[in-house]
Symmetry: C2
Subunit: 187 residues, 2 copies
């Protein structure tokens, strides 16, 4: 019933990321996050079910975007190229490199968050294989293409975070896929 | 201090697998597992730290075998072929198809066990990338090759469990790698 607060979600996210970085994910409390954002604790719980959700609320959106892009890619494309187009489109999601860097550091420091991240990727792989089968791709090609896509995603994400040349996410997707092609071909 | 029981570990594993299947992983207790194996509860804890370890005790051995095979593969081999040789060698571990089928069903029915399985695979991928770098493979090729290897492993394992033609694990590794090559090439 609280009054509307301008950009409450964004302020809470920023405050949470800062606190998780400074004191560790386990130590920070929802009350402290809200206080740093200049909001009431109940406002935190209006936006997020728990502390973890602040870091993973984008997972559903990410999956939806990927699945939708694969589903609507031209029929003429090979399955791996439909997946590549979908991954390149994630450039629209991954553009705040500093935010992603900070988030990744927080996750790397906490086993529970790492598990959650692994589950997110496994769920993504299953969703990709599903939509590929709906495109008519048989097994095991659908599962292998989905796993190859996740491999490209993981490596691209790490490269994008580490990148000092400011290459964008889409460009790194293309480079990583080219490398995956080379290594699987035995080059 | 208990007296030596012939094949206590094997009997406990068999009893645990049966109970986890019949009643679910959460419901079965160490005391019940021991009772079904005709052993005392303390004997269970002499072999396993907890109920979960019965299902995952092979993970370290699996990783050691893979890493060792990659490390000792001929230098002339492309990285992906060194990984393939290592995966084929897992045929020595994966030969009791019925046991693996049952284990997989138990894991699929329990979120906590699925997480543990995902962590196992992520750890395996990291270990493979490490040993590839020690072979002189640069990044991101090392990580991509490791991820490709895990993709082949996952798909091979599922095919091996589902296989009705009794193809062995090594043969399915070769087939899955050939398929991965085809899908990443865009065929």
């Amino acid at each position: 019933m609280g009054r509307w607060e301008p950009n409450a979600r964004g302020r809470l996210e920023q405050a949470a990321l800062e606190l998780y970085s400074e004191r560790g994910f386990e130590q920070a409390t929802a009350a402290e996050i809200a206080a740093r954002a200049g909001l009431a604790e109940r406002t935190f719980f209006r936006y997020f079910a728990d502390k973890r959700e602040v870091l993973f609320r984008g997972a559903g959106e990410l999956q939806e975007l990927l699945v939708d892009k694969v589903a609507t890619a031209p029929d003429s494309l090979a399955p791996i190229d439909a997946v590549a187009i979908a991954l390149e489109a994630l450039g629209a999601v991954f553009h705040q490199r500093e935010y992603s860097r900070l988030r990744q550091k927080i996750i790397a420091a906490n086993a529970e968050l790492q598990e959650r991240e692994l589950i997110k990727l496994a769920t993504l792989s299953t969703a990709l294989a599903d939509v590929l089968r709906r495109r008519g791709v048989a097994e095991p090609a659908a599962s292998l293409t989905a796993e190859a896509g996740i491999a490209v995603f993981k490596v691209t994400f790490q490269r994008w975070i580490d990148d000092t040349n400011d290459r964008d996410f889409g460009q790194l997707v293309r480079e990583s896929l080219a490398e995956l092609r080379a290594v699987t071909a035995g080059k």
